[in-house]
């Protein structure tokens, strides 16, 4: 087994979000800085809120064709779309043979809650409890999106799904880095996906500590990550996680960020940019306090896609990483400098990543 001391490199990326589909749409939307939430059609969405930040006019069949999309749920369609845009628009000409040693790691919160709950609902409502659509059974399993992406694009390397709510993208990145360091894949496509759905809107409505104050969004960000040494957009220097001590959660978060900087052999003064998740309510407050404990003046550029795209849950940290890459492409001062991406998941973990822009 080969190992490499060089940090893994993010060499290409794409995204699907409220800004639209593809890298260019994401970069343009972020640069424009306009909120993308829209009024929900009450006939289509029976949810406890009026607005959401949806992927504009997203239609799996229009995007991917009729074949293979009949039973596909929204989360899977978003992921297959994002991976397709990455491979076809950002990675030259994609050929299935390349997939032999290409892995895929996707972050999620709980897969498609809508698919799971619809399946159970059919079981309760049908004349018989087993009158359910067997073609939709795989949608109720959380690794559906990553398995479908593998089938669509012939990705036969390590294929994993990681659940971590808002931090899912960072868990995926760390997982991918571990696969590359261990020589288990040559290339790993990696990112995270979250769909907007009626089920998610109601679950968030009941579970959310901040009531309905947070605007929900959706999307998928995906990067091509390769073993170190090669060309690329950014190096992944470190990823670190923690689980907050309930008596002093900001202290845990502060330690996690300091450890990530130490592992990157970096100081706060080296940071060109910081991209916090800025979750609503107490979680955002915790993140702000932790960052105040670490950051030094002059304050790094702040990149907060969540202000525009809403709470995209599992896609959150992934879209933050992509936003850092997007801003760096148009900021000459970024080259060679560092970016810190932070996140906190309600009742779960805290984490961050340190990237060096090329």
């Amino acid at each position: 087994m080969t190992t490499t001391a060089d940090p893994p490199v993010l060499s290409a990326w794409s995204a699907v979000s409220g800004f639209g589909i593809g890298r260019a749409a994401f970069a343009a939307g972020l640069a424009a800085g306009a909120q993308v939430d829209t009024e929900l059609d009450p006939d289509q969405w029976q949810v406890p809120v009026q607005r959401a930040a949806l992927v504009p006019a997203f239609d799996a069949r229009a995007e991917l064709g009729r074949k293979g999309t009949r039973s596909m749920d929204r989360a899977t369609a978003l992921a297959v779309t994002a991976v397709g845009r990455l491979l076809n628009e950002e990675c030259g000409e994609w050929q299935r043979e390349i997939g032999e040693n290409t892995g895929l790691v996707l972050g999620t919160t709980t897969g498609s809650a809508q698919s799971i709950m619809d399946f159970t609902r059919d079981s309760f409502e049908g004349d018989k409890p087993f009158f359910v659509d067997p073609a939709r059974f795989p949608n109720t399993v959380m690794n559906c999106a990553s398995g479908q992406c593998a089938i669509w694009y012939g990705l036969r390397g390590p294929n994993a799904t990681v659940a971590g709510g808002r931090l899912a993208g960072l868990y995926a990145l760390n997982y991918a880095a571990r696969m590359l360091r261990g020589g288990r894949a040559e290339t790993v496509l990696c990112g995270a996906v979250e769909e907007y759905s009626r089920a998610r809107a109601w679950l968030e409505h009941h579970a959310g500590s901040g009531g309905d104050s947070g605007l929900l969004g959706e999307g998928c960000a995906i990067w091509k990550v390769e073993a170190g040494g090669g060309d690329g957009l950014a190096e992944l220097l470190s990823v670190r996680f923690g689980v907050p001590d309930p008596s002093d959660p900001a202290a845990t978060f502060t330690t996690v960020i300091k450890n990530a900087l130490r592992m990157a052999d970096a100081e706060a003064a080296d940071l060109w940019a910081v991209s916090p998740c800025c979750a609503p309510g107490v979680y955002g407050d915790l993140e702000r306090r932790a960052l105040e404990n670490v950051l030094v003046k002059p304050t790094p550029t702040r990149i907060v896609p969540g202000d525009l795209l809403g709470d995209t849950a599992a896609a959150g940290a992934a879209l933050q990483v992509s936003a850092v890459l997007a801003v760096a492409e148009s900021d000459r001062t970024a080259a060679g400098r560092l970016a810190l991406v932070t996140g906190i998941d309600p009742e779960g973990a805290v984490g961050c990543a340190v990237l060096r822009l090329r």
Partner: protein
């Protein structure tokens, strides 16, 4: 990817990873002692399902756990704030660290990994939320159940219960191979030195959704799970959790820990072929990757703990892949699912624990409910009666929806110490 053999001979003691603690919640016994006894006796955990209303299904047996008392294992957290799968993962982790002779204070001194695999997360609570919604409308869902839902809680709850903060708590929902995925993840983290201890395994709670899906596919057995039997009729759904403590050989030796077995390596790949049906060539390739990673030749494998669901399709495909790779030299191929049912994301973790026990205690767990071996499978599945055996290398297969395969190779720790 390297194909050099005998990697383990080249690894230093700090890069060799051993299993030093085990925790089990299963339908044939809670705790490592009872689980081991159950394996040795060929005990079967099947019974009529009570986890959900089975009215309208013509048959509904499953390997449900009816004697689990969360309060016995979960002391720092309020069990009511956890879904059943998280209760299982927390309980199994608490048992595993006690079994490893680890004090939580020792764990708090170092950076560790908690990796928990799952198929359904807390889908059992989603079932209940759907029921409430149908009865009273969506505005009347129970907020506490809604808070259970994010699957990340299966691993972060373990950290919360143990009071661990400097920890990577990751949940890996790669369906029915998730337990092996989680073990592989912990193995890599310990081997590369980024974690001192890894608490890894899998957990799932029985739910209506998954039973219904398999029933609709015609893959729920009416009475018994009979892997590799000519008259096998499918799976019985099960539930439970298994958690293993992994640490480096150095670490285990320095603290005088008991070592069950060494994790020699693992393989991981994807069929990229079909969401539900396994692909024989790809399953074979995953086994090959695992053996190469472990530095083991097929002829050195003494036992295969199969994914062995007991469906027509799985067992033929898996046995075929084994024959392709092992040729004339196929070792015994057993399925613990015959005893504990298909515990989904916990399945390959519980099977890996069974392998570690088998190596440690010197026996092969049987394949229960066996009458007549399917000639198309053509394996010695060690029918119904455990046999004594000196096991040096054991292979544990995990296959999943999405074409997600992971195979873990364990070895006897006598060799680990040499």
């Amino acid at each position: 990817m390297s194909s050099e053999s005998h990697n383990r001979g080249k690894r230093s003691a700090s890069q060799r990873v051993v299993i030093s603690g085990l925790g089990v919640v299963s339908s044939i016994g809670i705790g490592i002692g009872r689980f081991a006894e159950g394996l040795q006796q060929g005990k079967v955990g099947a019974r009529p399902i009570t986890a959900f209303d089975t009215t309208g299904f013509s048959h509904a047996l499953g390997c449900e756990i009816v004697d689990f008392e969360p309060d016995r294992w979960i002391t720092a957290l309020d069990p009511a704030e956890l879904g059943r799968a998280s209760q299982f993962s927390v309980a199994a982790a608490a048992m595993a660290i006690a079994d490893a002779g680890l004090d939580a204070d020792v764990l708090r001194d170092t950076h560790n990994v908690i990796s928990i695999g799952t198929t359904d997360g807390e889908s059992r609570d989603l079932d209940a939320l759907v029921e409430a919604e149908l009865r009273d409308g969506p505005e009347h869902m129970d907020p506490r159940l809604a808070r259970h839902v994010p699957a990340g809680r299966l691993s972060t709850s373990v950290a919360n219960e143990l009071g661990l903060t400097d920890v990577e708590a990751i949940t890996i929902p790669t369906a029915c191979a998730a337990g092996n995925y989680a073990i592989g993840y912990g193995f890599d983290a310990v081997r590369e030195g980024s974690a001192r201890f890894a608490l890894c395994g899998g957990a799932d709670a029985m739910c209506r959704k998954t039973f219904t899906g398999f029933y609709r596919l015609g893959t729920i057995a009416p009475e018994a799970c009979q892997p590799f039997d000519v008259n096998r009729k499918g799976i019985l759904t099960g539930e439970g959790a298994g958690v293993l403590v992994l640490e480096s050989l150095d670490s285990a030796v320095s603290r005088g820990a008991r070592i069950y077995a060494e994790v020699l390596g693992y393989g991981i790949n994807c069929d990229a072929h079909h969401q539900v049906a396994p692909n024989q060539a790809s399953v074979g390739r995953c086994m090959q990757l695992a053996l190469e990673d472990a530095g083991v030749k097929p002829a050195e494998v003494d036992l295969i703990s199969a994914h062995g669901t007991g469906t027509k399709a799985n067992d033929i495909t898996e046995a075929g892949a084994i024959h392709d790779l092992f040729g004339e030299d196929v070792p015994p191929v057993v399925s613990v699912k015959s005893m504990i049912g298909h515990t989904m994301g916990a399945a390959s973790a519980l099977a890996a624990i069974a392998c570690a026990i088998a190596i440690d205690r010197g026996f092969i767990p049987p394949t229960a409910n066996h009458v007549e071996t399917d000639p198309e499978c053509g394996v010695d599945c060690v029918p119904n009666q455990a046999i004594n055996a000196d096991l040096h290398v054991v292979q544990n297969n995990g296959l999943a929806f999405g074409g997600n395969n992971s195979v873990v190779i364990l070895g006897k720790h006598g060799e680990a110490a040499s």
